[in-house]
Protein backbone atom coordinates (compact mmCIF):
# COMPACT_ATOMS: atom_id res chain seq x y z
CA UNK A 1 0.00 0.00 0.00
CA UNK A 2 1.20 3.51 -0.74
CA UNK A 3 2.14 5.87 2.04
CA UNK A 4 -0.22 8.80 2.35
CA UNK A 5 1.69 12.04 1.97
CA UNK A 6 -0.32 14.02 4.38
CA UNK A 7 1.59 17.28 4.52
CA UNK A 8 -0.30 20.50 4.16
CA UNK A 9 1.34 23.07 1.93
CA UNK A 10 0.59 26.76 2.04
CA UNK A 11 1.68 29.90 0.36
CA UNK A 12 1.03 33.61 0.47
CA UNK A 13 0.31 35.80 -2.53
CA UNK A 14 -0.06 39.54 -2.79
CA UNK A 15 -3.05 40.93 -4.59
CA UNK A 16 -4.67 44.27 -5.17
CA UNK A 17 -6.68 43.80 -1.97
CA UNK A 18 -3.79 42.70 0.18
CA UNK A 19 -2.13 39.41 1.08
CA UNK A 20 -3.99 36.14 0.62
CA UNK A 21 -2.94 32.77 2.04
CA UNK A 22 -3.81 29.55 0.19
CA UNK A 23 -3.36 25.98 1.43
CA UNK A 24 -3.66 22.60 -0.26
CA UNK A 25 -3.98 19.12 1.21
CA UNK A 26 -3.03 16.10 -0.83
CA UNK A 27 -6.59 16.04 -2.17
CA UNK A 28 -6.82 19.61 -3.43
CA UNK A 29 -7.02 23.25 -2.42
CA UNK A 30 -8.53 23.34 1.08
CA UNK A 31 -8.19 26.94 2.27
CA UNK A 32 -8.00 30.50 1.06
CA UNK A 33 -8.01 33.31 3.59
CA UNK A 34 -7.21 37.00 3.49
CA UNK A 35 -4.13 37.79 5.53
CA UNK A 36 -0.48 36.90 5.89
CA UNK A 37 0.42 33.25 6.03
CA UNK A 38 1.71 33.07 9.59
CA UNK A 39 -1.44 34.52 11.07
CA UNK A 40 -3.77 32.54 8.81
CA UNK A 41 -2.09 29.19 9.45
CA UNK A 42 -2.21 29.68 13.22
CA UNK A 43 -5.90 30.43 12.97
CA UNK A 44 -6.48 27.33 10.86
CA UNK A 45 -4.78 24.81 13.13
CA UNK A 46 -7.75 23.71 15.24
CA UNK A 47 -9.86 23.18 12.11
CA UNK A 48 -7.10 21.22 10.37
CA UNK A 49 -6.81 18.95 13.40
CA UNK A 50 -10.53 18.54 13.81
CA UNK A 51 -11.00 17.26 10.27
CA UNK A 52 -7.58 15.51 10.10
CA UNK A 53 -6.80 17.32 6.86
CA UNK A 54 -3.01 17.25 7.24
CA UNK A 55 -0.23 16.52 9.70
CA UNK A 56 2.62 18.88 8.95
CA UNK A 57 2.46 22.46 7.68
CA UNK A 58 5.00 23.48 5.08
CA UNK A 59 5.37 26.86 3.46
CA UNK A 60 6.40 26.93 -0.18
CA UNK A 61 6.27 29.86 -2.59
CA UNK A 62 5.73 27.98 -5.84
CA UNK A 63 3.62 25.10 -4.74
CA UNK A 64 0.24 26.71 -5.37
CA UNK A 65 1.29 28.10 -8.71
CA UNK A 66 -1.82 26.82 -10.49
CA UNK A 67 -4.20 28.39 -7.97
CA UNK A 68 -2.17 31.61 -7.86
CA UNK A 69 -2.16 31.92 -11.62
CA UNK A 70 -5.93 31.54 -11.74
CA UNK A 71 -6.36 34.06 -8.93
CA UNK A 72 -4.11 36.60 -10.64
CA UNK A 73 -6.21 36.18 -13.78
CA UNK A 74 -9.33 36.67 -11.69
CA UNK A 75 -8.00 39.89 -10.17
CA UNK A 76 -7.04 41.09 -13.64
CA UNK A 77 -10.63 40.53 -14.73
CA UNK A 78 -9.57 37.77 -17.15
CA UNK A 79 -11.11 34.81 -15.36
CA UNK A 80 -14.70 34.23 -14.27
CA UNK A 81 -14.50 30.61 -13.12
CA UNK A 82 -11.92 28.60 -11.21
CA UNK A 83 -10.83 25.17 -12.33
CA UNK A 84 -8.94 23.18 -9.70
CA UNK A 85 -9.67 20.27 -7.34
CA UNK A 86 -11.06 21.49 -4.00
CA UNK A 87 -11.01 19.64 -0.70
CA UNK A 88 -13.85 21.12 1.36
CA UNK A 89 -14.38 20.26 5.02
CA UNK A 90 -17.17 21.42 7.29
CA UNK A 91 -20.43 20.37 8.90
CA UNK A 92 -23.23 19.05 6.68
CA UNK A 93 -25.05 22.34 6.77
CA UNK A 94 -21.95 24.33 5.96
CA UNK A 95 -21.11 22.09 3.04
CA UNK A 96 -24.57 22.32 1.54
CA UNK A 97 -24.41 26.11 1.88
CA UNK A 98 -21.01 26.23 0.19
CA UNK A 99 -22.29 24.01 -2.61
CA UNK A 100 -25.11 26.46 -3.21
CA UNK A 101 -22.63 29.36 -3.24
CA UNK A 102 -20.60 27.63 -5.95
CA UNK A 103 -23.68 27.79 -8.19
CA UNK A 104 -23.84 31.61 -8.14
CA UNK A 105 -22.36 32.84 -11.43
CA UNK A 106 -19.64 35.47 -11.68
CA UNK A 107 -21.01 38.98 -11.58
CA UNK A 108 -24.30 38.01 -9.91
CA UNK A 109 -25.47 38.13 -6.31
CA UNK A 110 -28.00 36.23 -4.22
CA UNK A 111 -29.62 37.07 -0.91
CA UNK A 112 -29.18 34.96 2.22
CA UNK A 113 -32.86 34.14 1.87
CA UNK A 114 -32.39 32.83 -1.67
CA UNK A 115 -29.56 30.56 -0.54
CA UNK A 116 -31.68 29.32 2.36
CA UNK A 117 -34.45 28.46 -0.11
CA UNK A 118 -31.94 26.86 -2.46
CA UNK A 119 -30.74 24.36 0.13
CA UNK A 120 -34.26 23.63 1.29
CA UNK A 121 -34.05 25.35 4.69
CA UNK A 122 -36.03 28.55 4.06
CA UNK A 123 -35.99 29.56 7.72
CA UNK A 124 -32.25 29.10 8.19
CA UNK A 125 -31.27 32.57 7.00
CA UNK A 126 -29.14 33.31 10.04
CA UNK A 127 -27.42 29.93 9.87
CA UNK A 128 -26.60 30.61 6.23
CA UNK A 129 -24.88 33.80 7.31
CA UNK A 130 -22.81 31.87 9.78
CA UNK A 131 -21.91 29.09 7.30
CA UNK A 132 -21.01 31.81 4.82
CA UNK A 133 -18.59 33.28 7.35
CA UNK A 134 -16.98 29.91 7.94
CA UNK A 135 -16.27 29.31 4.26
CA UNK A 136 -12.66 28.06 4.23
CA UNK A 137 -12.01 28.87 0.55
CA UNK A 138 -12.90 32.53 0.03
CA UNK A 139 -13.19 33.91 -3.51
CA UNK A 140 -13.10 30.44 -5.13
CA UNK A 141 -16.21 29.49 -3.17
CA UNK A 142 -17.83 32.88 -3.74
CA UNK A 143 -19.33 33.77 -0.38
CA UNK A 144 -18.88 37.42 -1.35
CA UNK A 145 -21.77 37.00 -3.81
CA UNK A 146 -24.31 36.74 -1.00
CA UNK A 147 -25.85 40.02 0.15
CA UNK A 148 -28.73 41.19 2.36
CA UNK A 149 -32.30 40.91 1.04
CA UNK A 150 -32.44 44.68 0.69
CA UNK A 151 -29.37 44.59 -1.54
CA UNK A 152 -27.14 45.85 1.25
CA UNK A 153 -23.62 44.69 1.89
CA UNK A 154 -23.77 42.79 5.12
CA UNK A 155 -21.19 40.83 7.04
CA UNK A 156 -18.08 39.51 5.39
CA UNK A 157 -15.62 37.77 7.69
CA UNK A 158 -12.71 39.58 6.14
CA UNK A 159 -14.30 43.02 5.98
CA UNK A 160 -17.00 44.64 3.91
CA UNK A 161 -14.45 46.63 1.93
CA UNK A 162 -13.07 43.38 0.49
CA UNK A 163 -16.52 42.13 -0.37
CA UNK A 164 -17.34 45.39 -2.15
CA UNK A 165 -14.05 45.26 -3.98
CA UNK A 166 -14.73 41.75 -5.29
CA UNK A 167 -18.28 42.54 -6.35
CA UNK A 168 -17.16 45.72 -8.08
CA UNK A 169 -14.39 43.75 -9.83
CA UNK A 170 -17.02 41.32 -11.08
CA UNK A 171 -19.24 44.17 -12.20
CA UNK A 172 -21.98 43.22 -9.77
CA UNK A 173 -21.91 46.64 -8.14
CA UNK A 174 -22.16 49.98 -9.84
CA UNK A 175 -19.29 52.33 -9.04
CA UNK A 176 -20.16 54.60 -6.15
CA UNK A 177 -20.94 58.11 -7.25
CA UNK A 178 -20.64 60.96 -4.83
Amino acid sequence: MEEAENDLFYSQMNTSIGPITIAASNQGVCALYFGESEEVINGMKPWIQKYKIGDVFQEDTDILEVAKKQLHEYFDGDRTEFDMPLDLYGTSFQRSTWKALQQIPYGETRSYKQIADEIGSPRAVRAIGSANNKNPISIIVPCHRVIGSNGKMVGYGSGIDKKEYLLRLEGALQPVSS
Binding site: E2, N26, V29, M84, Y89, R95
Partner: protein, 292 residues
Protein backbone atom coordinates in the same frame (compact mmCIF):
# COMPACT_ATOMS: atom_id res chain seq x y z
CA UNK B 1 8.77 26.64 -15.86
CA UNK B 2 6.35 23.85 -16.65
CA UNK B 3 9.05 21.39 -17.72
CA UNK B 4 7.20 18.76 -15.75
CA UNK B 5 4.15 19.19 -17.95
CA UNK B 6 5.65 17.64 -21.09
CA UNK B 7 7.28 14.86 -19.10
CA UNK B 8 4.00 13.95 -17.44
CA UNK B 9 2.06 14.05 -20.71
CA UNK B 10 4.59 11.71 -22.36
CA UNK B 11 4.45 9.39 -19.39
CA UNK B 12 0.65 9.26 -19.37
CA UNK B 13 0.67 8.47 -23.08
CA UNK B 14 3.06 5.54 -22.47
CA UNK B 15 0.90 4.44 -19.59
CA UNK B 16 -2.21 4.40 -21.81
CA UNK B 17 -0.46 2.78 -24.80
CA UNK B 18 0.74 -0.05 -22.59
CA UNK B 19 -2.78 -0.74 -21.29
CA UNK B 20 -4.20 -0.62 -24.79
CA UNK B 21 -1.56 -3.11 -25.92
CA UNK B 22 -0.11 -0.70 -28.50
CA UNK B 23 3.35 -1.11 -26.99
CA UNK B 24 4.70 -4.15 -25.19
CA UNK B 25 7.00 -2.33 -22.80
CA UNK B 26 5.57 -1.09 -19.56
CA UNK B 27 6.05 2.54 -18.52
CA UNK B 28 9.29 2.52 -16.52
CA UNK B 29 8.65 5.38 -14.12
CA UNK B 30 5.99 3.87 -11.93
CA UNK B 31 6.52 2.32 -8.50
CA UNK B 32 7.08 -1.47 -8.39
CA UNK B 33 3.60 -1.84 -6.85
CA UNK B 34 1.99 0.00 -9.74
CA UNK B 35 4.05 -1.85 -12.33
CA UNK B 36 2.78 -5.10 -10.84
CA UNK B 37 -0.72 -3.64 -10.80
CA UNK B 38 -0.52 -2.79 -14.50
CA UNK B 39 0.60 -6.35 -15.30
CA UNK B 40 -2.29 -7.73 -13.24
CA UNK B 41 -4.69 -5.39 -15.00
CA UNK B 42 -3.56 -6.70 -18.39
CA UNK B 43 -3.78 -10.34 -17.28
CA UNK B 44 -7.20 -9.67 -15.84
CA UNK B 45 -8.38 -8.13 -19.14
CA UNK B 46 -7.15 -11.22 -21.00
CA UNK B 47 -8.80 -13.54 -18.55
CA UNK B 48 -12.10 -11.67 -18.87
CA UNK B 49 -11.70 -11.64 -22.67
CA UNK B 50 -12.16 -7.91 -22.44
CA UNK B 51 -11.17 -5.47 -25.14
CA UNK B 52 -10.04 -2.09 -23.91
CA UNK B 53 -11.22 0.13 -26.74
CA UNK B 54 -10.16 3.52 -25.53
CA UNK B 55 -8.76 5.36 -22.54
CA UNK B 56 -9.39 9.02 -21.90
CA UNK B 57 -7.46 10.83 -19.18
CA UNK B 58 -7.35 14.38 -17.96
CA UNK B 59 -5.12 15.78 -15.25
CA UNK B 60 -5.49 18.74 -12.92
CA UNK B 61 -2.32 19.77 -11.08
CA UNK B 62 -2.81 21.55 -7.76
CA UNK B 63 0.52 21.45 -5.94
CA UNK B 64 3.87 22.12 -7.55
CA UNK B 65 6.86 21.70 -5.29
CA UNK B 66 10.18 23.02 -6.64
CA UNK B 67 13.66 22.64 -5.27
CA UNK B 68 16.65 23.09 -7.54
CA UNK B 69 15.80 21.41 -10.82
CA UNK B 70 13.36 19.06 -9.22
CA UNK B 71 9.61 19.59 -9.58
CA UNK B 72 7.12 17.46 -7.68
CA UNK B 73 3.55 17.87 -8.83
CA UNK B 74 0.46 16.63 -7.03
CA UNK B 75 -2.40 16.20 -9.45
CA UNK B 76 -5.85 14.76 -9.89
CA UNK B 77 -6.10 12.18 -12.65
CA UNK B 78 -9.50 11.42 -14.16
CA UNK B 79 -9.58 8.16 -16.14
CA UNK B 80 -12.31 6.66 -18.32
CA UNK B 81 -11.81 3.22 -19.84
CA UNK B 82 -14.16 2.06 -22.58
CA UNK B 83 -14.46 -1.73 -22.44
CA UNK B 84 -16.11 -4.41 -24.50
CA UNK B 85 -16.78 -7.92 -23.24
CA UNK B 86 -18.82 -10.33 -25.40
CA UNK B 87 -20.85 -7.70 -27.27
CA UNK B 88 -21.44 -5.72 -24.09
CA UNK B 89 -19.91 -2.29 -23.62
CA UNK B 90 -19.27 -0.41 -20.42
CA UNK B 91 -17.26 2.58 -19.20
CA UNK B 92 -15.15 2.35 -16.10
CA UNK B 93 -14.19 5.61 -14.39
CA UNK B 94 -11.72 6.53 -11.68
CA UNK B 95 -10.52 9.71 -10.03
CA UNK B 96 -7.06 9.42 -8.49
CA UNK B 97 -4.75 11.74 -6.58
CA UNK B 98 -1.17 11.25 -7.67
CA UNK B 99 2.32 12.64 -7.26
CA UNK B 100 4.83 12.94 -10.09
CA UNK B 101 8.49 13.80 -9.42
CA UNK B 102 10.57 15.29 -12.21
CA UNK B 103 14.13 16.57 -12.53
CA UNK B 104 14.91 19.12 -15.22
CA UNK B 105 11.99 17.90 -17.29
CA UNK B 106 12.78 14.20 -16.83
CA UNK B 107 10.24 12.11 -15.05
CA UNK B 108 11.64 10.31 -12.01
CA UNK B 109 8.57 8.62 -10.62
CA UNK B 110 4.78 8.84 -10.82
CA UNK B 111 2.78 7.31 -8.00
CA UNK B 112 -0.53 7.12 -6.19
CA UNK B 113 -0.69 9.14 -2.97
CA UNK B 114 -3.79 7.91 -1.30
CA UNK B 115 -4.53 4.74 0.51
CA UNK B 116 -7.14 2.50 -0.98
CA UNK B 117 -8.61 1.53 2.34
CA UNK B 118 -9.50 2.46 5.86
CA UNK B 119 -7.35 1.77 8.87
CA UNK B 120 -9.10 -0.82 10.96
CA UNK B 121 -10.62 0.03 14.30
CA UNK B 122 -12.95 -1.63 16.71
CA UNK B 123 -15.15 -4.58 15.95
CA UNK B 124 -18.80 -3.90 16.58
CA UNK B 125 -20.70 -6.47 18.52
CA UNK B 126 -24.43 -6.22 18.54
CA UNK B 127 -27.24 -7.53 20.67
CA UNK B 128 -29.82 -8.98 18.42
CA UNK B 129 -33.41 -8.82 19.45
CA UNK B 130 -36.56 -8.93 17.42
CA UNK B 131 -36.38 -9.94 13.80
CA UNK B 132 -37.72 -7.18 11.62
CA UNK B 133 -37.23 -7.38 7.91
CA UNK B 134 -37.04 -4.53 5.43
CA UNK B 135 -37.55 -4.27 1.74
CA UNK B 136 -34.37 -3.16 0.05
CA UNK B 137 -34.85 -0.78 -2.86
CA UNK B 138 -31.89 -1.87 -4.98
CA UNK B 139 -32.60 0.61 -7.71
CA UNK B 140 -32.47 3.57 -5.30
CA UNK B 141 -29.24 2.29 -3.76
CA UNK B 142 -27.61 1.98 -7.19
CA UNK B 143 -28.90 5.37 -8.31
CA UNK B 144 -27.35 6.89 -5.21
CA UNK B 145 -24.05 5.14 -5.91
CA UNK B 146 -24.08 6.47 -9.47
CA UNK B 147 -24.88 10.01 -8.37
CA UNK B 148 -22.31 10.31 -5.58
CA UNK B 149 -19.33 8.05 -6.43
CA UNK B 150 -17.14 11.10 -7.15
CA UNK B 151 -18.93 13.63 -4.98
CA UNK B 152 -19.86 14.08 -1.33
CA UNK B 153 -23.43 14.44 -0.16
CA UNK B 154 -23.39 17.25 2.35
CA UNK B 155 -25.99 15.47 4.50
CA UNK B 156 -23.13 13.29 5.71
CA UNK B 157 -19.69 14.00 7.07
CA UNK B 158 -16.85 13.50 4.60
CA UNK B 159 -14.09 11.31 6.00
CA UNK B 160 -10.53 11.34 4.73
CA UNK B 161 -11.11 7.61 4.11
CA UNK B 162 -14.66 7.60 2.92
CA UNK B 163 -15.20 4.10 1.51
CA UNK B 164 -17.55 2.54 4.04
CA UNK B 165 -19.32 5.81 4.81
CA UNK B 166 -20.17 5.93 1.09
CA UNK B 167 -21.47 2.32 0.97
CA UNK B 168 -23.55 2.92 4.10
CA UNK B 169 -25.13 5.97 2.44
CA UNK B 170 -26.03 3.85 -0.59
CA UNK B 171 -27.70 1.20 1.60
CA UNK B 172 -29.52 3.93 3.49
CA UNK B 173 -30.74 5.36 0.16
CA UNK B 174 -32.07 1.87 -0.56
CA UNK B 175 -34.16 2.05 2.60
CA UNK B 176 -31.96 0.08 5.02
CA UNK B 177 -33.19 0.82 8.56
CA UNK B 178 -30.78 2.16 11.18
CA UNK B 179 -30.62 0.87 14.74
CA UNK B 180 -28.38 1.09 17.79
CA UNK B 181 -28.14 4.86 18.19
CA UNK B 182 -26.45 6.38 20.20
CA UNK B 183 -24.07 3.57 21.12
CA UNK B 184 -21.24 3.72 18.64
CA UNK B 185 -20.30 0.05 18.99
CA UNK B 186 -23.87 -1.06 18.40
CA UNK B 187 -26.01 -1.55 15.32
CA UNK B 188 -25.63 0.52 12.17
CA UNK B 189 -26.59 4.19 12.24
CA UNK B 190 -25.67 7.77 11.42
CA UNK B 191 -26.85 10.63 13.60
CA UNK B 192 -26.12 14.28 14.07
CA UNK B 193 -22.36 14.58 14.37
CA UNK B 194 -21.93 10.96 15.40
CA UNK B 195 -22.20 7.49 13.83
CA UNK B 196 -21.68 3.83 14.61
CA UNK B 197 -18.32 2.23 13.85
CA UNK B 198 -20.15 -0.08 11.46
CA UNK B 199 -21.28 2.95 9.44
CA UNK B 200 -17.80 4.19 8.57
CA UNK B 201 -15.22 1.52 9.41
CA UNK B 202 -14.82 -1.31 6.88
CA UNK B 203 -13.94 -3.95 9.47
CA UNK B 204 -16.90 -3.18 11.73
CA UNK B 205 -19.20 -2.98 8.72
CA UNK B 206 -18.15 -6.44 7.48
CA UNK B 207 -18.82 -7.99 10.91
CA UNK B 208 -22.07 -6.13 11.29
CA UNK B 209 -23.30 -7.54 7.97
CA UNK B 210 -22.47 -11.12 8.86
CA UNK B 211 -23.96 -10.95 12.33
CA UNK B 212 -27.01 -8.67 12.10
CA UNK B 213 -30.43 -10.29 12.26
CA UNK B 214 -32.36 -7.06 12.68
CA UNK B 215 -32.63 -3.78 10.78
CA UNK B 216 -30.08 -3.80 7.97
CA UNK B 217 -29.28 -7.45 7.37
CA UNK B 218 -27.36 -9.41 4.79
CA UNK B 219 -26.62 -13.00 3.92
CA UNK B 220 -23.20 -14.18 2.92
CA UNK B 221 -22.99 -16.02 -0.39
CA UNK B 222 -20.15 -18.18 -1.70
CA UNK B 223 -20.09 -17.16 -5.32
CA UNK B 224 -19.71 -13.63 -6.61
CA UNK B 225 -22.20 -14.45 -9.37
CA UNK B 226 -24.95 -14.75 -6.79
CA UNK B 227 -24.71 -11.01 -6.15
CA UNK B 228 -27.27 -8.61 -7.58
CA UNK B 229 -27.45 -4.85 -8.00
CA UNK B 230 -27.01 -3.02 -4.71
CA UNK B 231 -25.23 -5.93 -3.00
CA UNK B 232 -21.96 -5.43 -1.15
CA UNK B 233 -18.43 -6.83 -1.37
CA UNK B 234 -15.94 -6.54 1.53
CA UNK B 235 -12.17 -6.78 1.04
CA UNK B 236 -9.27 -7.92 3.18
CA UNK B 237 -6.37 -7.04 0.89
CA UNK B 238 -3.62 -8.73 2.91
CA UNK B 239 -5.54 -11.78 4.05
CA UNK B 240 -4.80 -11.00 7.70
CA UNK B 241 -8.47 -10.83 8.75
CA UNK B 242 -8.48 -7.08 8.97
CA UNK B 243 -11.19 -5.95 6.58
CA UNK B 244 -10.21 -2.75 4.87
CA UNK B 245 -12.55 -1.91 2.03
CA UNK B 246 -16.18 -2.08 0.88
CA UNK B 247 -17.83 -1.66 -2.51
CA UNK B 248 -21.37 -1.80 -3.95
CA UNK B 249 -22.47 -3.68 -7.08
CA UNK B 250 -23.82 -1.23 -9.68
CA UNK B 251 -23.68 -3.27 -12.89
CA UNK B 252 -22.40 -6.34 -14.69
CA UNK B 253 -19.86 -6.82 -17.45
CA UNK B 254 -20.29 -9.06 -20.51
CA UNK B 255 -19.36 -12.11 -18.39
CA UNK B 256 -22.15 -11.30 -15.93
CA UNK B 257 -19.54 -10.46 -13.31
CA UNK B 258 -20.14 -7.53 -10.95
CA UNK B 259 -18.88 -4.01 -11.58
CA UNK B 260 -18.68 -1.91 -8.44
CA UNK B 261 -18.72 1.72 -7.35
CA UNK B 262 -16.53 2.80 -4.44
CA UNK B 263 -14.76 5.73 -2.83
CA UNK B 264 -11.19 6.58 -1.92
CA UNK B 265 -10.10 5.78 -4.70
CA UNK B 266 -13.30 7.10 -6.26
CA UNK B 267 -14.34 4.52 -8.84
CA UNK B 268 -17.28 3.74 -11.07
CA UNK B 269 -18.04 0.41 -12.80
CA UNK B 270 -14.76 -1.01 -11.57
CA UNK B 271 -14.15 -4.77 -11.98
CA UNK B 272 -14.95 -6.28 -8.58
CA UNK B 273 -11.64 -8.13 -7.94
CA UNK B 274 -9.53 -4.97 -7.41
CA UNK B 275 -6.61 -6.54 -9.26
CA UNK B 276 -6.16 -3.04 -10.69
CA UNK B 277 -5.36 -1.67 -7.25
CA UNK B 278 -1.93 -1.31 -5.65
CA UNK B 279 -3.50 -2.58 -2.43
CA UNK B 280 -4.17 -6.00 -4.01
CA UNK B 281 -2.06 -8.92 -2.76
CA UNK B 282 -2.18 -12.63 -3.66
CA UNK B 283 -3.65 -13.26 -0.20
CA UNK B 284 -6.69 -11.07 -0.79
CA UNK B 285 -9.97 -12.28 0.71
CA UNK B 286 -13.49 -11.27 -0.27
CA UNK B 287 -16.90 -11.53 1.39
CA UNK B 288 -20.01 -11.34 -0.74
CA UNK B 289 -23.15 -10.04 0.94
CA UNK B 290 -26.70 -10.21 -0.36
CA UNK B 291 -28.49 -7.26 1.25
CA UNK B 292 -31.99 -7.66 2.68
Amino acid sequence: MKKWNDALQEHLKDWMRFQLGLVGTRPDKTTPQETEMLRRLKRSLQHREATLLKIIVSFYPYRIHRFGKQENVTYQLVISRFMKIKQKYHIEEQVLHRLVKTHDGHLLIDKLIQKESLPTKKISTSNQQVDRGFSYDRRNAVQYAERWWDDYNSSYRKFTDNCTNFISQCLRAGGAPMRGMPERGKGWWYGKGTWSYSWAVAHSFRWYLSSSTEGLRASEVENVKELGLGDVICYDFNGDDRWQHSTIVTGFDGNEEPLVNAQTTNSRARYWTYEDSTAWTPNIKYKFFRIG
